[in-house]
């Protein structure tokens, strides 16, 4: 069976989640590989969630938030834009290709952009292949 990447998407409630909803309502085709977790703001995405996702066997993680300046909470996405680059360096040290972690801005009106991001990401992870972590904590999931 061909490799189907598992991607966890953390989507902010106001922009990206609505954007994903719009993509669905508009019947825009997108890869089913991104499994969405809704958060109120992309600023809520605790770095440990991302590490945990990789640990539990996710092949990629995408965090989506409002465009800069559009945050429903004024500046939550500015917190995110500072956290993700640090995290990219951290996952690289763990032996995870930083391309497996993405930060994208998708507004509530960008259903087509949501689909594009999802498809691109899925294709990229497909090329990278499954994530093989060594020395994990052996919780039996992987």
């Amino acid at each position: 069976m061909a490799f189907e990447p598992k991607i966890i998407g953390f989507l902010c409630n106001w922009c990206s989640y609505s954007g994903a909803d719009l993509a669905g309502v508009s019947r825009i085709k997108s890869a089913p590989n991104v499994r969405i977790i809704r958060t109120m703001c992309s600023g809520r995405v605790d770095p440990s969630f991302i590490i945990k996702s990789f640990q539990l066997g996710a092949d990629g993680v995408v965090v989506m938030g409002c465009h800069l300046g559009d945050c429903h909470y004024q500046e939550g996405n500015y917190k995110t834009i500072r956290r993700i680059p640090f995290l990219k360096r951290l996952v690289r040290d763990f032996g995870i290709d930083p391309r497996r972690l993405r930060l994208e801005w998708v507004s509530a009106s960008e259903g087509d952009r949501f689909a594009k991001v999802v498809n691109e990401m899925t294709e990229e992870i497909r090329q990278l292949g499954p994530l093989k972590l060594t020395g994990h904590n052996g919780n039996g999931k992987k």
Binding site: R35, M40, L56, Y73, G111
Partner: protein, 586 residues
Amino acid sequence: MVTVNIDGTRIEVIEDTTILKAAEKAGIWIPTMCHSDYFEPYGVCRLCSVEVVRGKRSRIVTACNYPVRGGLTINTNSEKIKWIRKIIMEMMLSRWPNVKVVREMAEKLGIEKSRFVSLERDEAEDACILCGMCVNMCSDVVKASVLGFANTGINREVVLPFDERTSSCIVCGACAHVCPTGHIKMVIEDYKGMKPEFTLGPKTAITVPSLQAVPRVPVIDTNSCIHFKTEGCEICSTVCEPHAINYDMKDEIVEIDVGQILVTTGFDLFDGSKMPQYGYGKLDNVYSSLDFEHMLNSTGPTGGKVVMKNGKEPRSLAILHCIGSRDTNHHAYCSRVCCMYALKFAHLVRDRTTAAIYQLYIDMRAFGKGYEEFYTRLLDEGITMIRGKAAEIVEGKWSDNKESSLLVRCEDTLIGKFREIPVDMVVLCNAIEPRKDSDAVRRLFTISKSPDGFFLERHPKLDPTATTTEGVFIAGCAQGPKDIPDTVAQASSAAARILSLISKGEVEIDPIRAMVQEEYCSGCRICNNLCPYTAIEYLEDKKVSHVNEALCKGCGTCVAACPASAMTGQGFTDAQILAELEGLMV
């Protein structure tokens, strides 16, 4: 008050009034060619010469600047005065024989021919008669003091400083306005599109913005008002009897505490010059729908008459639908209102003129109550409907090859042919588009926009007036193109929503809040500065942070940042999200 006797009429006037004003009050006409109420009397034309008798002595004075005293007897029509006026008038006639105001004045004074021959004879109809009105206007009223007299005697002339263009001239046009002969003209160079004599905008610096303005009071355009350039003029405040004009008023920013906001910022009209093929702004008699609406208005610049720039009625007129809308190069959406107002235009033009009317449409969208009936009625009125969008508008000629006009090039898709239609006037039905500053407004209220750029409602069917931000509502064209009935319906709905919350007296808020588990909090205060709503305070006595639940909006930024996991976001706790994660990974 003093009493004077003018031509046998006794009249009471305030002391120091000029004889001219006193005579005016007595209903006696004194000829003058250089006087204006706007500036100090100049006394240069000498036509207003009158005879002042005091006792046995009499003097000839100019009425415009001679102040009256008690007991004066003034003769304005004696033989001596008539003789003086005749000489002055004949001299003027000999020098400026074709100037209209001079000829009219001579006629009024009963002078037909001049006995003199002037060395400086100027046959021009718009010759400068050296009345000095422009010079006085410029120095006394406008206070720019640009124009002045040069030379003396027969060489006297009105000049600019050093006879060249000067930046001191504010181009207010006051000199041209007062010039009695038309010697001074306002020439507008490189003015695209509209001819200045047919501008559809305001023509004065103080104007009522629209007749529907609330409150309906005039406002001063400080960019074009003379007073704001030179501190001069102030003519409007001298003629305003209730003294309502205040030049010191400034725009002020008022802060009002409100609980709810209804955003109804409306729309902008698509700029027709973005589609150069239609010649808007370049070709004469090509109007946007708003220009044309203004022209059709009975209080508009033409009084509701449909006329071309040359003042003639158009022989034919084309109305072009979907300019900038239903066009993937500009706006993909339909502007909804154009079809119906285009039909209204056709109806009104048919009513007011005999012009042939062409409507060039893509699809006719007569969707509302009574609209389709109106469309069928229009078809019976003899409007030519052409299904096909116009390709371009060019200058052309009618078959009689006399007067130039416009040619509309289009494809008539119903007969499958290309057509060129000669018309005199074109009306473009420009798209409704989001306001230019809508992004700034959107960010101010943290509301979203839909792909077309209009503000996004919470739900297109179930909640069309609310937004994702509590307490902010939208209505009208700010939310999307719509006609008046739809706007009224949506605005009423929004008003009802707002009123229901006001009468309730309290606001329900989502239970999603951050909360500190005090036993885990080490008091590091990382979260305190992160909160955009300053909802987190530090309790000095307990040495822990505390969330003010009324201020917290539940974004969770602090939750993600807490190094001790002491902060939890209700509804989105770490445990809940991790459980979701585990569930997803199965």
